[in-house]
Symmetry: none
Subunit: 194 residues, 4 copies
DNA sequence: AATGAATGAGGATTCATTCAT
DNA sequence: GATGAATGAATCCTCATTCAT
């Protein structure tokens, strides 16, 4: 029973299904059919709305990116002070919505996709730059010239712990990962880690 | 005219070709044929020696792992003192043989493979544990209880910078990445980063 | 706001679009969607008016046929004498409206369609019979028993030059083709070609 | 039971099957699978040997062209005198091997293919040029300046009768078509048709 | 009158894998 | 030891067609 205005609904369903399917399978060898089935429609409709497999992937990346951005924005809204804001940024990265196993797996695969696909590459760059500038905004006032290197370390550690999280199927890592980056932040700001 | 004792030569050629091909293509969607062609033989022969595609991948992982292990071993042989050894370990990780673009790309893809393949997963675990115990061996005497967390941060940062290196096609990152981890080590050991 | 009496307008637009699209693409692998888009409507509406793809093709054939018939009728109205009428028939066949590249391409494809589709086959037969009887009407008084064969040769040459015109994308052929058939007519009527 | 040296056999079988299949279906909407099945192999093997559908078509064209060329060569070997050679050329064109319904249908479709595919276009041009130069070789000594136009008419009539033959599924046309072109030749050479 | 929504069916192409030689 | 031959299975994508609105 076709209804009008289905496009945004279908697209959203496909994007969600794509992330879930990638998470479930563990790599990008997911078929358009499996994504479409998961989203409750025919593969032809998925093609109709997205034009092709890669575009579904890109939309999924954009979605994950938007989710992350929203998480950061919300966290920053409640944070005060440079350090408070930095902690908020770090915690947002490991917020449960971004740290669900499917999402972590999807992110890892987006890194792989970015090696082949220029748009995917650009999208990932946007994420990296956003994280970098977010960190710099609050690190520079505190660290001056040392801010740049500190930001690189913090961002690198975030990504690294994400990557490692992909390996350990345990969900235990969330708070732990967050704690490690916060500890690094602390060291960068105050010196000796506690 | 077939020669005797070709097996190790063929296997080595295939393993090398697999890493190169994965690096060139940027993902695991490489065909057995393309690997075999790169190694100068028919795909049937590749199957004959390895039994299947996944086993070629696993052998390639083992090879990369062995390369890394050798690099560390060599570096440690020349190092003295706990800090010297730790620096050697870090530098070894970013040694040029491990940091060539193809190899970085291959590693990233091995992380993906590890999500699906148990043997690949186990192999990656071995790498992680080895790195961890290498770090702990020299960190514990220096940091005591804080060693565990410091090792996690250092290992995480190494992986994260590797991951990020995959994105920036520039080769500039090598010394930079190394320097960042050494800086982290310094902070962990002495307090405030310089 | 839908309007009344749209049917003939829509149908005409679709028929024209079909010929143009076939001409542009060069074969019958044109989609109903592309025809409909060219005609400024949805593919669903095209189906509504014609019932299916083949019927659109058949209507397009009928249209091309009608165009040709009209061209001949007009030409004959101004012609006098048997030879004058024969020349008019020949010239009409190569009149610019029938010799536009799209139209030539469409005709060629209709010949192909006629191999599969009985209605298309019948339509093409109608054209052939009409041409034949037109030629015979004026050839018989002049040639008697030899008229039949002469008509077959003239009709055959017309079709052959049409076919060859499809190949040479140059538009130069129009007058040339016409001249060749007129020369043949002359030979048939008077003997030695000039 | 795979054997060595199958390639030429398989390729020949596929080329023959392609022509037959195109002839049977009546258009180029033949599937690689159907061609392969007709040739007694899997569609994958057809792709292996030809690389793709269009290349199968092109090989089929080349084959038909070669068949025609061989027919002409044979006929010319036995012919004497300019007129005798011209008659031989014409008869060869309508020889039964070239005039089998499947072959005629295939030719027609190659004309369509030539509108899209440059290699097909070039191949057809080769046929046309060869026919033209064959005709000119013997017409020029006989007709001088009038040879060019005569050749165009004869070639055009051959193609036209071929085209028309595609329509009438009767096999009766062969000798008839041949006779018509011979009559045209006669007229061109001697004047008035008999 | 008109269209967006939806799908089933089909086809080209790729590839890992097997087998006979 | 080595390979050409061969295929089944899978996947992306396209498209004619139908239907509810």
């Amino acid at each position: 029973m076709p209804k009008l205005g289905m496009e945004p609904i279908r697209r959203a369903a496909l994007v969600k299904a794509a992330i879930d399917e990638i998470g479930a399978v563990g790599n990008l060898d997911v078929t358009v059919s499996s994504i479409a089935k998961r989203a409750g429609m025919s593969s032809a409709l998925a093609h109709h709305y997205f034009g092709g497999k890669e575009q579904i992937f890109l939309a999924a990346m954009r979605h994950a990116l938007a989710l992350y951005a929203a998480e950061v924005r919300t966290a920053l809204a409640d944070a005060t002070g440079h350090q408070g804001r930095l902690e908020a940024i770090i915690r947002a990265g490991f917020a449960s919505s971004n740290f669900r196993p499917e999402v972590v797996a999807a992110w890892l695969n987006f890194y792989v996709l970015a090696q082949t696909s220029t748009p995917a590459h650009d999208l990932l760059r946007i994420y990296q730059r956003r994280l970098h500038s977010n960190l710099m905004f609050d690190l520079r006032p505190l660290l001056g010239d040392r801010a740049e290197a500190a930001a690189a370390r913090i961002a690198g550690l975030i990504d690294g712990l994400y990557l490692r999280q992909g390996l350990s199927r345990a969900n235990t890592g969330q708070s732990d990962a967050s704690r490690q980056v916060l500890a690094l932040l602390n060291t960068e700001l105050e010196g000796r880690p506690q």
